[in-house]
Symmetry: C2
Subunit: 377 residues, 2 copies
């Protein structure tokens, strides 16, 4: 079911109650009642009782049907949340980020505008960010403790809940493409490590030597993370969850979501975060929303962040922005976690919610003019 | 919030409605009304209207507070769901399974009975099943396509949503112990492959050579899976998702859940199923329930099975058994998936729900007499 259908149904119900309310006000404010008015009062009592009992049914919200048409084609992206402060950003650096975010928006939107699927738009937008060293995904992936680049990605189709993901891959140029291949070309949802790389190779995806992912700035980040006392001024810069993600709505009313990451700088022991976990970092369901998260992955897994937004809409009757707010600003923050998410519902309503100082983000819709943001203000 | 608190609140509300209902029946069946009765009718109208409006608030169910004391110490286990037919089982084989399930129940219950924590009871019960070749976990893990035994496990503490998991490990004797170590001794939730093994070794967990997991019956299963045409009579036996799991409630009212598996026979490409995924195969939250799943992992991931049971209780107001039924019998089955789950709420109410022919399962509660079941009937 869809939130808008619920809104429609609730508005309809509320309207009904308002009419009853007016009649009741007339009746209770009149000290002398005719027999006819008493009869009306009786009918109202019965009617209200019936509505009251119906409204108390446990399954009420679960049975609202999808009735409204989808909203305009829309695409939303994020390039990671974290300690992103205006005071630490040069105008040149800011322009680099803004330009790349706009390029990602344009690339995904071109597909939607041409009648393409939301799933393909999500892949196109994420590929632009994976191919840039600015973001912690693909080319710009951070280094593990052992000096490697281990990447995770996932994708989900809201029309049929099909999903694919890869974790801990080191040789696949675009992990989001591999996640899509897992979804389309295998019976599995999640493949990890060497096995996932073998699958990608067999499927003819672009394989690169690990040196492709070497970036000197990222390598310096690893050195700082290993020796945190030495360069304290840069710690803030490093507390950035540079995951990238995209959610999109196509002209057929189908939602899709995707997420790609290089994980945490200095991560050890084959740590896997939330990005390749369906329900934690990525989720899409036409009836509710598409979500991609960025943040402290362990908290996102424990809170099932992406699916929780959907469940709060479906079972709790919340709107997208209220559901996103509840999960990020209350649950995640309350537990000591950090991060943010982008969300999109079938009406094209956008959420970009984060409890960090900033989040690289942007959206584009029917007019085709992308809008990007970096800081909280 | 807790389901029982909701039940209490709803029962309380329902009681109120019943009283109102009786008065209304008297009023509407009486053709001649006194002024006093008309006044009562007015009051009822206002009261009903107030209750009606309050009951339509979106956040009603989200604000019920936890008020009831926890139920008795209880432990529930499963040893996998699948094509388990009485006609294919010898009395000796049946006794082997029953005895081992009872041993697992007793092992976990001894901890609960001695005042121990639900988390430790879950580990104890799962270790018994991991150490037996009867179940597809630990010692009895099935073979991958490459003739290896790659195991996954996860555990979650319902009191604080802490969780730990390992995926694709080949040398750790008890993967559930490793999942617990990830939760307790690291900042991470999920570790995979060699990294997870290195972590387990550094933490002093019991490491065994891969040959420890060799089992000739499991190896024959792999050969049959690779050549499905050769021994059709045994295919039914192989369509078993032999994952093991446990959920427990201790005397402090804390729920915990754990799951351990050898995955799918003949799996390729580093495939990871639902067992190490928090929210898919395992979930625990004191306010709702503890869940461990067994089945076709890809569907469990796409449907966020374990967390969905919790969300249906928390946001949808369903009881544990209705929530489990909705997820397994409607969503999972409707999508073409197969499997089952065990669930336990804070009142000690047990769910053992599956849409396959059978599921090895059992529970034990205050009297300390374990009960086990295998088939549907």
């Amino acid at each position: 079911m869809v939130k808008d259908a619920q809104n429609y149904a609730l508005a309809h119900e509320n309207k009904k109650y308002c009419s009853i309310n007016s009649i009741i006000l007339v009746l209770i404010s009149n000290p002398y009642l005719s027999n006819c008015q008493i009869d009306i009062m009786r009918c109202l009592l019965i009617l209200q009782l019936a509505v009251l009992l119906a409204s108390c049914s446990d399954d009420r919200r679960l049975n609202v049907r999808q009735i409204s048409p989808p909203g305009p084609i829309t695409l939303v992206i994020h390039g990671g949340a974290g300690t992103i402060l205006r005071s630490e950003m040069s105008p040149e650096r800011e322009k680099e980020y803004t330009d790349k975010l706009l390029a990602a928006l344009d690339s995904g939107f071109a597909i939607l505008h041409g009648g393409g699927k939301s799933l393909d738009a999500v892949i196109a937008a994420i590929k632009v960010m994976e191919d840039s060293p600015l973001f912690n995904a693909g080319k710009g992936a951070v280094f593990t403790h052992d000096g490697r680049n281990e990447m995770d990605a996932s994708i989900m189709d809201g029309s049929d809940l099909m999903a694919g993901a890869v974790a801990g891959v080191t040789t696949i140029k675009n992990p989001i493409v591999a996640a899509h291949a897992v979804m389309m070309k295998s019976k599995h949802v999640l493949m990890a490590g060497k096995g996932a790389e073998q699958f990608a190779e067999e499927e003819g995806l672009e394989i690169v030597p690990p040196s492709y992912f070497f970036d000197s700035a990222r390598y310096r980040q690893l050195q700082r993370a290993k020796n945190p006392g030495k360069e304290t001024s840069s710690i803030g810069q490093d507390r950035k969850f540079g995951t990238v993600g995209c959610v999109a709505l196509d002209r057929y009313g189908n939602l899709a979501a995707g997420t790609s990451t290089g994980g945490m700088t200095n991560k050890k022991y084959g740590r896997v975060g939330d990005s390749p976990i369906i329900g934690a970092g990525t989720y899409a369901k036409n009836g509710t929303c598409a979500v991609s998260g960025t943040g402290w992955g362990e908290y996102f897994i424990r809170l099932n962040v992406a699916y929780d937004v959907s469940a709060l809409m479906e079972y709790g009757g919340l709107s997208l922005d209220k559901a996103a707010d509840s999960v990020i600003m209350k649950k995640l923050k309350g537990m000591g976690g950090e991060g943010g998410l982008i969300g999109l519902d079938r009406q094209g309503r956008v959420a970009m919610t984060f409890c960090t100082e900033g989040m690289y983000r942007g959206y584009i819709t029917k007019k085709g003019q992308g809008k990007t943001f970096i800081y909280r203000d």
